[in-house]
Structure formats: C-alpha cells, structure tokens
Amino acid sequence: MYAIECKNLTHYYGRKLVYENLSFNVEEGKILGLLGKNGTGKSTTINILNGFLQPNSGECLIYGENTQLLTPETKSRIGFLIEGHVQYSFMNIHQIEKFYSGFYPNWNSAPYWELMSKLKVTPKQKISTMSCGQRSQVALGLILAQDPDLLILDDFSMGLDPGYRRLFIDYMREYAKAEHKTVFVTSHIIQDMERLIDDVMIMDYNKILAQQPVDQFMASFRQFNITLSSPAEEIDMDGIAVNIDKVKDKIEFYTYSTADEVKGYLNSKGITFTSFEEKKMSLEDAFIGLTRKY
C-alpha cells in the first residue's frame, strides 16, 4: 500500500524543464529521503505534494486523493514541516499549541510539552524571538502532537546546529518506527539522512538517478580509487562507469559493478594501473559520486 503515488509528473517553469514523466511511490511505514542538488526539483516536488503547485501534467496521490484536491480529512493525516521550520512566529508556545489543537481530532499534547520542557524559553516568549534550533523543536513538537500518518519534512536540517539536527533525527526516527508513520523528507545535509531514512531517491536535472532502499543502494554503488600507470592514459565515461573523476594519474571510479568487473573492463580497454582499491563510502560520498561535484 502506498502513502504517496506520483505518476508521470512533468513540470516547467516558463520554458525551463524541471522534470518530465517523473514517477515514484512511497510505501506506507517507510522513511524516504529525497536528495538532489539545488534546482533539481526537490522543492517543486514538495510543493506538488502539498497542493501548492499544479504540475503541467501528471498527478500525485496521497492516500488515493489527488494532492490538488485533498479533503480536510486527508489533510489532517499529513504533517507538514516547511523549509526553515516556518511557523506562526507571532504566537508563543502556549498560543500555538492551543491554536493547532482545535484542528486535529487525535491531538496529543504530551510529546509537544515534553520537547518544550527542554527548551530554555519563557512561557510568553514569542516564537519569533527564539533561535532556529528552538523553533525547530516547536515545529517538531507540533507535528508529533498532531500525530499524522504521513510526515512531509522539507529541508528539516536548514539552520540547525549539529546537536539540534541529531536531536531532531533521533526523535523522528524513533517516533516514525514506533508509530508506523510514513515520512517523506528532504535535506541538504546528507550525512543526517543516513541515520534517518529507509529508502533513498536521488534526483538529477530532469530525472531520477536512483530510487531504492538505502542499504541496497550503499551495498551496490561503489567507489574505486585507481592509480593509472601513466597520467596520459585516457578513460571514457562509457560502459560500466557511472561517473569518473580524474586528476593526473589518480581516478575515482564510481560504478554499480564489482571490483572484478571493473578490472575486467579496464583490461578490455587496455588501461593499465599501479594500484586499485575499493573505498568505503558514506551516503554523502555516494551522492556526490552519482551526481558529480558540480
């Protein structure tokens, strides 16, 4: 059963194509991380999912409803964290809790107040005067109190220091797994995602480069550091190479193939090397390897 189904999405900003015929699904109970460089369409996808953007063609469904026409009942099942932890900052923590509690039938204020008790804020302090980290905890607390089935978190790590990022991730992971929640998350800080997500979707300009369980992706996508016999050796981006970075005689070879397959490939091309080793990658390394540095 899918919480999110997007089918054949095509969108342009003016004449600029964002993506064409993009399709993906998010299974219920999974945490999916959407990764991509700036301008690849992450925010566009989030806006389409939340009904704030009508794609040129195609559609997204959340719990079977078109996201452009979500009913209040379905909206109440979705928790939405806006990029930068935007909230009604003219309210204080009591006012905002009172405000939201009137909208959601399953409202449970206990986790909200548990998080608020950790913040060093005065009861009447407006959210606008809080630090970014404190605001993130307010936004997170409100989502936990709403108790939605699906959480859409847009760049949750923006502006947070490492401590608050870790706190956010650990809370979110524990909550999502314990309560069987579905999470669709984007972040610029990919090392955070590694601790949080089950599945990864990596977007490049106009297309999806990878969508699979993150463990499977990390097990199958590899980096080999190779020293060539001569800097003059040329190596082409064809065949099994997904990406190659060459600086003088050193190359970083990114591929879904095994060491033996890469060696066989190099031999078949007549490329000789003096050293060959597989480098263990973090998710961030793999992301850069797949999408290139620039």
């Binding site: 704030f52 935007v86 003219f90 939201y100 909208f103």
Partner: protein
C-alpha cells in the same frame, strides 16, 4: 476549528484594534470639546448655519481614520501570512482552502465593522448633545463614504498582500489607489448620498476577490 482559526486572527490584529479604538476615542473627544468651545463663542444657530450652508464640517479629523484603520488591520492580519509564505500553513489546515480564507476575511471585516460602528455610535451620541437630528443625519451621510473607503481599503490591501506575483501586486495597487481615492474625494455635505448604495455593493463585492489570489497561490503562481 473555527474558534481556533479566529483565535489566531485575533492574536494578529488585537493590538491594532485596541490602538484604533483608542485613537478614535481621542479624536471624538477632540471633536466634541472643540464643538463645545465653538458653540460657547458663536451661538449654536450660527454654528449650525456654517455647517448646513457653508459646508464647514466639525468632524473632518475623522476623514482618513477609517482608511488608516482599514490599512492597519489588513497589514496586521495578512502581512504575517506572507512572510516566508506562511499562508502555506494556513492552507494546510484540515479545512477547505476557500473556507479558511472566507472565515479569515469575514473575521477581519467584522472586527473592522465593529470598530467603525463603535466610532459612529459614539459620534452619534456626542452629536446628539449639540446638534438637531437633521445635522446628525447629514453628518453621518457625509462620513459614510469614508467608512466604506476603510472597508474597501481592507479588502484591497488583503488582495495585494496575498498576491504571489509582484507584477500583479503593482497592478492591484494602482487600481486600489484609484478606487479608494473616490471615497475621499472632497465633496459638499451629503453629496455621496445618491451613490452610497452602489458603492456599498461594490465594496461588498471586493470582499470576494481575495479568493482569486488564494487560488493563484495554490496553483503555484510565482
């Protein structure tokens, strides 16, 4: 849900509302102290004569008050929704998007109307001490376009603030400036009486245009 929504709107505008009521009260006290003073120096019949036949109004201090209050309430209510596109939070609430806008707008307009009615009732009560009924009626008819202008200002500023595209904001602002000016055009006492009903209807219709910008925002215009 409705109670929660109105609670949020009240938090945004309450300071402006109390300041508006305070300023209005000060303006009214000023008006009637001046009227009392003038009537003591030139007798009442002369004072009434200058109002009825020379067009000397004793309440001109109130002229731009509704405009300023309408502008201030619209900014206090809708500007916070536009910062960081916070209106997304409002549209994400489990209520229909048009429904939420209608309630927000009705609440703002209702509060504005309440402030204006309070001012008019107090003005009427104060005037009754010094003037006969026909002068009070003429005064109220003269002021009516100013208060309708305050309502129109509220509706049009909300439209401008919620509009996602700067080009459209500029166009709306130009139209709004032209339209609102009509309400404050200098005219003789009671001159607007024949057109009060049509401009009241137009002002009421303006209250619905905010739904158009809400729709444009939700479709992703930027």
């Amino acid at each position: 849900m409705l109670k929660s929504l109105l609670y949020k709107e009240w938090i945004k505008i309450r300071l402006v509302v109390w300041i508006a009521l305070g300023l209005s009260l000060v303006a009214l006290i000023n008006i009637f102290l001046k009227v009392r003073h003038d009537i003591l120096f030139v007798d009442a019949s002369n004072y009434w004569y200058s109002f009825l036949f020379r067009g000397v109004t004793y309440f001109s201090i109130l002229k731009f008050l509704p405009f300023i209050v309408g502008l201030a309430v619209a900014i206090a209510q809708y500007f916070p929704e536009t910062v960081n596109k916070r209106i997304k939070l409002t549209f994400h609430l489990p209520v229909s998007e048009n429904g939420v806008l209608i309630w927000m707008h009705s609440f703002g307009a209702g509060i504005l109307l309440a402030v204006f009615l309070t001012v008019l009732v107090l003005f009427n009560a104060g005037s009754a001490i010094f003037f006969p009924a026909n002068i009070i009626r003429a005064s109220l008819l003269t002021m009516m376009p100013w208060f309708l202008g305050g309502m129109a200002t509220y509706f049009l500023v909300a439209l401008i603030l919620l509009e996602p595209m700067w080009l459209f904001r500029g166009l709306y602002a130009a139209v709004a400036a032209g339209f609102v000016t009509i309400f404050y055009t200098g005219a003789s006492i009671g001159a607007f009486e024949p057109v009060l009903a049509p401009i009241a209807v137009i002002t009421l219709l303006l209250s619905f245009v905010v739904l158009f910008t809400g729709y444009r925002f939700r479709k992703g215009e930027m």
